[in-house]
Subunit: 326 residues, 2 copies
């Protein structure tokens, strides 16, 4: 079985690759396990190939058809399309966001269609497709109303994937991800970057700026569970999905104050005191437009699981990343 | 005031042009009436210019940037973007639908953005953006779930127009039109073409095929009221619209049986007997996925009006088109 991960050098792409290589196989469209024989990691930067002979790292611009034609052929059984320009950056650089989040997603679907073999495509969407006056718990039939260019681009790519699936060009699955926390590494240009930073930096002995108020509610999922959901999403039986190709993934609804309390519980008061409160209206507006909770009954019926509480998420981060709290 | 109508040679485009020329002025963004000095009609075919010196008929492919750059400049105060590939055709020719309904709409917004003067743009959307399990009365916050490529393309263009408006590149208004009935002229490739045909052809002494069952419910608006709503939509105060740029236009919810009964009431039994019932599963599936009614309170609050009953619509058609019922 030949697989492609776009954004394969990114944080989720690398972690997904590592997990797929460790598992060694994936269910095919008929539900039978098939050995993973080739895993292409496409990105603008060279992806780590883990010294594994099954991995091929391809550097290229995903918005170019020739690049996609190089990495998708009739043997490509499944694609995890993770490549994206994050929310803050898509707002700052309109053209770049349109080019990567919309044009490249469309191009990818079109190259699949041209190949003619109906590959499975997992597309990661976001809380940012929602916005405006939202119910306390967003339902599966709540209208999308993105309040950012990133959210609009994700919502458009969802519609494209739905239509390409309906027409039989791909066998698509849209997984709407909660905000991922705790991400390791450095802050990025996502408006939600702080949702990892206020845990990661204090654990690392550094100060972290929190740009939103403590009462702001977030909808979070750990990287570990996100990867599990991506793989489970790909393996879902097409017949079970029917025409409902979009899944709101499970998450935890927490306020920033509750996140800080969990950090205090896990790592102590000295660590939690390293958060500096410095409101940023731009970030507050964008993050505040996102849902604090959505109905996850369908994802759960299909066997997709998240965490139960945020302290466990912090503990998993500490364990996975080998963090020595200071 | 300089205006552009895309799809200007089409039925609605021509009727809108005639009405605008007759009115002679439109409110500007500040609500002050301004004389219409230039009206460009862009289409793939030569549009009738009514022998009016204010009209410029431009023939060109709207999916080409150079064509749009020729008809949109810094003096273009407002654009009615009506050009579209209809539902049945977009389903039959996927590439053409994507090119005109999606790519060209995106390009039009992008040329406006490049000009930098934030023109008003009225975009006509459709009942086809809805689908799946719908409530009896579709609400403003009911999720879009298109079951046709046409519907998906319209929903995507809505999202683009919303985001380009939010960013201040255009001052956009999306008017979701009910099915327009009674259209004069010939049948077209729209799945809803019969909704005019079963009235128009019998009045003209001809048989008409009805491809759906009599219990199928439609959401209808007359051409006359559609044109009034398009102009009223353009003239709406930007501040009143806020971030809610989408308006579901008023309509009448009628079953096909009720349409036939109205035809019998207006024109007699002999005329109504000219309808031939010949179910077409493809048409039934697409039309059946559309809402039979939606909540129109917002449009009505903003002063947009439709008809009260379908017999009046038939009478207006007979009067407007000078039909001699046979």
């Amino acid at each position: 079985m030949k697989l492609l991960i776009t954004g394969g050098a990114g944080f989720l792409g690398q972690r997904l690759a590592r997990e797929l290589l460790a598992r060694g196989s994936l269910k095919d469209a008929q539900g039978a396990p098939q050995a993973i024989t080739e895993l292409i990691l496409l990105d603008v930067a060279q992806a780590n190939d883990f010294g594994d002979s099954r991995v091929r790292s391809e550097v290229g611009d995903i918005a170019q058809r020739s690049v996609l034609e190089r990495v998708i052929d009739e043997n490509t059984a499944a694609i995890f399309h993770l490549a994206a320009v994050v929310s803050g950056q898509a707002e700052a650089d309109f053209d770049l966001g349109m080019r990567i989040n919309l044009d490249a997603s469309h191009l990818l679907l079109d190259v699949c269609r041209q190949r003619g073999h109906r590959p499975r495509v997992v597309f990661t969407s976001s809380v940012a497709v929602y916005g405006g006056d939202l119910p306390d718990i967003v339902q599966n039939d709540t209208a999308l109303n993105p309040q950012s260019s990133y959210g609009a681009q994700k919502a458009i790519a969802e519609l494209l994937l739905n239509d390409y699936s309906r027409r039989g060009f791909v066998d698509g699955r849209v997984l709407r991800l909660p905000t991922i926390s705790v991400r390791p590494g450095k802050p990025n240009a996502a408006a939600s970057s702080f949702a990892s930073g206020i845990i990661r930096e204090p654990l690392n002995g550094e100060e972290a700026v929190c740009p939103v108020s403590g009462s702001t509610r977030l909808w979070l999922l750990s990287p570990r569970k996100a990867i599990e959901c991506l793989i489970a999403g790909l393996e879902l039986d097409t017949a079970t999905l029917g025409n409902q190709r979009v899944l709101n993934l499970p998450g935890i609804s927490v306020s920033v104050d509750e996140m800080v309390a969990a950090l205090r519980e896990v790592a102590g008061d000295e660590v939690a005191k390293r958060i500096v409160w410095q409101p940023d209206a731009r970030v507050e507006k964008m993050v505040g437009s996102w849902p604090a909770r959505w109905d996850t009954s369908r994802a759960e019926q299909l066997g997709l699981r998240g965490e139960q509480n945020f302290a466990d998420v912090i503990r998993a981060y500490i364990a996975d990343e080998g963090v020595q709290a200071r």
